[in-house]
């Protein structure tokens, strides 16, 4: 039977197993919306701004192991979505975005709501397609999901002109696709793996540094086995948190600009470094020149060859999927029975414990004003460390990363690469849809939350009982911190004046709002909020305005040149 392009689009999504699509209608996608209306396999979540549709799909994808899915109209629908797409791209999140386009005959005519979607999004997608013929539609959508979810994941966009949604053809959803130009390497080279293990077992001061790749590749179990077997110290990037359990004694905390003293010192002074699914970001190794003052061998496992030897020269590159490679490493270790140098390792741990004793995350626990760190610690306690925590961007993000000790992957959802304010609330909505049985918390700041505050309305519509922890310091705190440290205390435009009354604002959206001003009220407020299982509760914590995030590696400085409290 012949179907229209619009029917085919929706059928493809359903056949691909998409349960939620996040979107916003408009002229170019009306036929697709009409088909969404006529079926109930794919549920549509109507956001209040296209940026939020993408963030919500992104949060959904990060929380479960499935790709997110988005539907927006041409022109402004697309341009609004671009920030979300770039956010997903920078953090390698699997996602398929379907966009409407003006009819094929109108393309290039400056038609109403026309933008060059393929051109605008090209630098921030893994790949994109313009479907000019309805007969290519089903295969293209299949390819989009295939590309988005394999190799290094990423967003893939499919642009569909309106006339293609009306045209008819036979429908068949391909069971699989193969592309001669796209074949990610998954299995690591056995010889390289052997070389890596030899280096590691001979190391005097080994260090394991893992990133978002371990979370994306669902390899935490294999990682834990590997690290525990060797007894090596392990650190995670901001994107990798939860990849290794934070409460394990081998865990060193996060590394990088706001990483722990012990993680950064160990990173700087190790003699063999194993990097797994991490990309030596500038927020992670600081000034590369300083990083290379110390001599060390580097082993790098990554599914994307271009991540390897990009910022840092690598001695043993291993291209492959984290889970495949770690399994092979575990297998070879078991088979050979190779053991690390025990005496050297003991001395190394003695050094590490000295660094750890510096207690770099300490803060004033008896302060008369609410300390943001304390709120996160209490949040951890009250949620049993088992919530899905999303965040926005700023100081609150760093405190959440440092103090909510993530023990499991896919519990920490934040924008690391692009650092997109406005991400937290819609991402929480998506994460909740992926795991409606879980407690979902959005840790945010009074500036960030206002960038997608309209999504409180979406949350009302779908009864999403998200708990919002607003660390309200009346400042763009992260900006204020830089101005204090590096711009002579000139707080240019970082004070958040004329803030709304968040309690009333939340109430006007039909939710529950709370304002907490004293340290002794923090715990009670959190308990009350989390006891309201079915309500979205916005907790507005009035926190210390002057608090800064420590440790801090200033821009251009080396990892061991931290500012400490």
């Amino acid at each position: 039977m012949e179907l229209t392009g619009a029917e085919i689009t929706v059928r493809c999504l359903a056949d691909e197993g998409v349960d939620y699509i996040f979107g916003y209608p408009g002229g170019a996608v009306l036929h697709i919306y009409d088909e969404i209306f006529k079926q109930d396999r794919v549920k549509h979540i109507l956001v209040r701004h296209e940026q939020a549709a993408v963030h919500a799909a992104d949060g959904y994808a990060r929380a479960c192991e499935k790709p997110g899915c988005v539907l927006v109209t041409s022109g402004p629908g697309v341009t609004n979505a671009v920030t979300g797409i770039a956010t997903a791209y920078m953090d390698s999140i699997p996602m398929v975005i379907v966009t409407g386009q003006v009819p094929t005959h109108a393309i290039g005519q400056d038609a109403f709501q026309e933008v060059d979607t393929v051109g605008i999004t090209r630098p921030c997608v893994k790949h994109n397609f313009l479907v000019k013929d309805v007969r290519d539609l089903a295969t293209t959508i299949k390819k989009a999901f295939y590309i988005a979810t394999t190799g290094r994941p990423g967003p893939v966009l499919v642009d569909i002109p309106k006339d293609v949604t009306i045209a008819r053809t036979e429908y068949e959803y391909p069971a699989s696709v193969s592309m001669r130009s796209y074949n990610p390497v998954l299995k690591g080279h056995a010889g390289q793996i052997r070389k890596a293990l030899a280096l590691l077992t001979e190391a005097k001061r080994p260090m394991i540094y893992t990133g978002g790749g371990v979370v994306l590749g669902s390899a935490s179990a294999e990682l834990a086995q590997f690290v525990r077997n060797l007894g090596f110290p392990c650190t995670n990037t901001l994107m990798g948190l939860g990849g290794y359990p934070a409460n394990d004694p081998l865990f060193m905390g996060m590394l990088g600009m706001h990483g722990t003293y012990e993680a950064n010192m160990a990173m700087q002074h190790c003699d063999v470094l194993l990097a797994i699914g991490a990309r030596f970001d500038d927020r992670v190794i600081g000034n590369p020149k300083h990083f290379f003052q110390e001599d060390r061998r580097i082993i790098h496992v990554d599914v994307d060859p271009s991540s390897i030897s990009k910022r840092v020269r690598v001695d043993v590159p291993i291209v492959g999927d984290v889970r495949e490679v770690l399994s092979e490493m575990n297998r070879q270790l078991a088979a050979t029975g190779a053991k690390p140098d025990a005496a050297a390792l003991k001395a190394w741990w003695t050094q590490i414990e000295l660094w750890r004793a510096r207690n770099c995350l300490k803060y004033d626990r008896n302060a008369a004003i609410i300390k943001p760190q304390m709120v996160i610690e209490k949040l951890h306690e009250i949620t049993g460390g088992d919530a899905i925590v999303t965040s926005d961007v700023g100081q609150h993000q760093m405190w959440a990363a440092q103090f909510y000790r993530f023990d499991k992957p896919r519990r920490w959802i934040n924008s690391g690469g692009l650092g997109t304010m406005g991400f937290g609330l819609p991402a929480a909505l998506g994460a909740w849809l992926a795991h409606p049985e879980s407690t979902v918390v959005c840790v945010t700041g009074e500036a960030s939350i206002q960038m997608c505050i309209q999504e409180l309305s979406t949350c009302k519509q779908y009864r999403a009982p998200i708990k919002i922890v607003n660390l309200n310091n009346r400042y763009m705190g992260m900006v204020r911190q830089w101005q204090e440290f590096f711009h002579g205390n000139r707080y240019a435009e970082s004070y958040m004046d004329a803030l709304p009354d968040f309690v009333k604002l939340t109430e006007s959206y039909g939710h529950v709002g709370m304002r907490i001003e004293k340290p002794e009220d923090v715990e009670g407020a959190l308990r009350e909020a989390f006891s309201r299982k079915d309500d979205l509760v916005f907790m507005d914590f009035v926190t210390d305005q002057t608090e800064n995030v420590f440790p801090m590696v200033p821009g251009g400085k080396g990892l061991s040149e931290m500012i400490l409290v």
């Binding site: 790949h127 130009s181 271009s306 990009k310």
Partner: protein, 163 residues
């Protein structure tokens, strides 16, 4: 270092802009870029001449390979290869210079493909260096217009780039 990189890419609309966009977005140099369809209508062949340190060239080949439309990439400069560029040059050719210009074209194995009373249009192929040498050999003011294709390259001997 100067490298000459050859690629096969899907003959899709937009494939060229993905390659060009990659170079500009990542700040890589392009000295020249040529592209045309191949005997296989689904594929185009592109030759890019670029410069950069070994690290940069390694990133360029990796990033090119990562583009979904790119089927194959080789850095021709890693092995023996042949490189040719075509130039059309319109030169002043009147009076006593006319004979001299014909002689120069002959020396460089150029062909005169268009003639007016006052000018010749010369077709010349060779490496970029040879074309430069020809232009350098002409008298100041002799050149009215030049158009160059940029280099095309192919491996020497049995080496072939194929899917």
């Amino acid at each position: 270092m100067r490298h000459i990189i050859s690629l096969l890419l899907e003959n899709e609309s937009g494939a060229l802009s993905r390659v060009a966009g990659l170079f500009s977005a990542r700040g890589y140099n392009i000295e020249s870029l040529t592209v045309a369809p191949t005997e296989d209508a689904t594929l185009s062949r592109m030759t890019i001449v670029t410069t950069g340190s070994d690290d940069v060239i390694e990133q360029i080949t990796k990033q090119l390979n990562k583009l979904v439309d790119v089927v194959k990439v080789v850095d021709l400069s890693e092995g023996e290869h042949i490189e040719r560029e075509l130039m059309l040059v319109k030169v002043r050719a009147s009076g006593k210079d006319r004979e001299e210009m014909k002689r120069m074209a002959d020396i460089f194995r150029g062909r005169i493909i268009d003639v007016t009373d006052k000018s010749y249009t010369i077709e010349l192929t060779g490496t970029g260096q040879k074309l430069d040498a020809f232009l350098d050999a002409l008298e100041d003011g002799a050149v009215l217009e030049t158009v160059r294709t940029g280099a095309s390259g192919i491996g020497r001997g049995e080496r072939i780039l194929k899917v």
